[in-house]
């Protein structure tokens, strides 16, 4: 149960979820380039987007091998229909303001740290190697975002309110982080990676202290549900794809 041409469709699906999360968040974060509140953050956010796109390239290449239909990273990144993307809904919602961006990066970054830690022990040795590399980056992304959440939460009254509002809006999307299905179960059984519902405690242990330090209140869990990782996205996804896929759709088959 490793490497290319896996007979296990859950294996491919599991890797695609990992890949699409970083692909789509990389796309969103790259929208900041040139528009951040200070030049240092233009650089920091570009750097984060670069890391995420680098991770996406490794993961999509790996997914393409598992799929065994000869699709490369770009065919997978740019030429699937919306229903075939498997990212969490949280990563596709619009950036809006800088506060909302750092809240998302903190919530998602903590999830990635927890997940990559576990994946370093994956039975899929390629995935384990990608996890080892990505874990370092994710730790940096999480701590960068967490520092900003603290600065904004514990900054002015205005920044506190803005970042609490962003947290209230985005928190419900984290329900999806921990929703498990057969893919998860099969991947866990095969030692490929953890089932999502086993990650919540560690994630809370990472996130809650940041919120406390930021003087922010963690919202209560609600029945809000999203389904991005099962291929049912939000209304935002189609607009993101229209931009991201434009060149590949307009000039099919061209090399760049």
């Amino acid at each position: 149960m490793t490497q290319a041409n896996s007979a296990n469709p859950a294996h491919l699906e599991y890797v695609l979820r990992l890949a699409d999360n970083v692909l789509i968040l990389g796309q969103r974060i790259s929208e900041w380039c040139g528009h951040a509140p200070v030049i240092e953050e233009d650089l920091a956010l570009s750097n984060m987007a670069l890391d995420l796109i680098g991770q996406a390239r490794l993961l999509l290449t790996h997914a393409g091998r598992l799929e065994g239909r000869g699709r490369d990273e770009d065919q997978l990144a740019f030429l699937r229909v919306e229903r075939d993307y498997r990212n969490l809904t949280l990563v596709e919602v619009p950036n809006q303001d800088f506060g909302r961006t750092v809240v998302r990066n903190m919530l998602f970054g903590a999830f990635q740290v927890v997940l990559w830690e576990r994946l370093t022990a994956s039975a899929d040795s390629e995935l384990a190697a990608i996890a080892a590399k990505s874990l370092k980056e994710a730790r940096y992304h999480f701590s960068h975002a967490a520092e900003w959440v603290v600065r904004l939460g514990d900054g002015t009254a205005l920044s506190h309110d803005k970042v609490q509002a962003a947290l209230d809006e985005l928190w419900p999307y984290t329900n999806e982080f921990f929703a498990s299905d057969e893919t998860d179960a099969a991947a866990a059984a095969a030692g490929i990676g953890p089932a999502s519902n086993t990650l919540e405690a560690d994630w809370e242990n990472a996130v809650l202290p940041v919120l406390a330090q930021a003087t922010l209140v963690a919202p209560a869990r609600t029945p809000f549900k999203t389904f991005g990782k099962f291929g049912r996205h939000s209304e935002h996804m189609g607009h993101l794809l229209a931009t991201m896929q434009y060149m590949q759709r307009t000039y099919p088959g061209a090399q760049w």
Binding site: H35, P37, V38, L43, L50, A56, A77, G155, M244, A254
Partner: protein
């Protein structure tokens, strides 16, 4: 006067002037103006290329472009830091840009209209910038010269990447080749104009005496044209100047007359993107005000808490 003589002597000897050294006020002002314009150009220059990040046609090219735009932001930072050694603050310089009081390179007031523009900016615009900047690596003000060494190294890398992007497109479909030609048609003359007015019309002659400017506009322009014509041949694109022709006698390429009306219009604020560029930068700055204020407020609170804990 004694200071002035020492300053002149060091300039004549080709020594670097350092921040702690005495310097004439006009020298300082000229440097602040030039370095900050250069920094502003890097920052504004992030926008035309940034316009294509979300639409880059492959993940590899998206990564290269992101890294490049990030480098430009980095150049902006070193250059602001170099300017700050002259006793001005970055915020003050930046606010002059946003208020429209400070200039930046007019080349960034042209729009990026197809993916090949990204390659052409690397090839022609960065190419012209490097020609302009290499002499600055030996300019008389130490911090500026050192910043330029780093900038030039990175720009050369960008130029090669841009050229590689174009080579790939020229080996591609007819549509891709058309895009490259279209981009070259639009960027060639603006690139030529990046070297500024003809020497006969040029001001700022002190910059030469002070060892800031070491080669004239027309000499640099000629050098750029001579280098670029061959690269265009290898690419297989036509430079949009029917007068472009090798002049055996001069040992250089002749080229056509520059449209100085266009140059003046764009410098004067009437280029296609002047308004949009500054508006984009101003929006980022204004939208970010609450973030910067929060960071300051948090740092102050933290300092009080640290003191109380100590």
């Amino acid at each position: 006067p004694a200071y002035q003589a020492e300053f002149d002597a060091r300039i004549d000897a080709g020594d670097f002037i350092e921040p702690k050294d005495w310097m004439p006020e006009a020298y300082r002002k000229t440097l602040v103006r030039q370095i900050s314009q250069h920094a502003h150009s890097e920052i504004v220059g992030m926008l035309p290329e940034g316009n294509w990040i979300t639409r880059a046609p492959s993940l590899k090219r998206k990564a290269i472009l992101l890294a490049k735009v990030q480098d430009e932001g980095g150049h902006g930072l070193y250059l602001y830091a170099a300017a700050e050694t002259l006793g001005v603050s970055r915020d003050e310089l930046y606010e002059a840009l946003l208020a429209g009081r400070a200039k930046y390179s007019s080349i960034f007031n042209y729009p990026t209209l197809n993916w090949a523009d990204i390659g052409v900016i690397g090839w022609l615009v960065d190419g012209a910038a490097i020609m302009n900047q290499i002499p600055l690596c030996k300019c008389s003000y130490g911090p500026y010269a050192r910043a330029m060494i780093r900038v030039c190294k990175e720009e050369s890398f960008h130029q090669r990447q841009g050229y590689d992007l174009l080579l790939t497109m020229m080996r591609g479909t007819p549509e891709q080749q058309e895009m490259v030609q279209d981009a070259v048609n639009r960027w060639w003359w603006p690139s030529i104009m990046m070297f500024g007015p003809h020497d006969s019309d040029s001001v700022h002659t002190e910059t030469t005496r002070w060892g800031i400017k070491r080669i004239s506009n027309d000499d640099l322009r000629q050098k750029f044209v001579d280098a670029t014509v061959k690269q265009a041949e290898v690419l297989g694109v036509t430079l949009p100047d029917p007068a472009l022709k090798w002049n055996e006698a001069r040992g250089h390429y002749d080229f056509g007359a520059i449209d100085w009306d266009e140059f003046r219009a764009v410098v004067g604020g009437h280029g296609q993107c002047n308004v949009d560029r500054i508006a984009a930068r101003r929006k980022a700055w204004e939208d970010g005000a609450w973030v910067r204020e929060a960071a300051v407020a948090h740092a102050e609170k933290q300092a009080v808490r640290d003191k109380a804990a100590a």
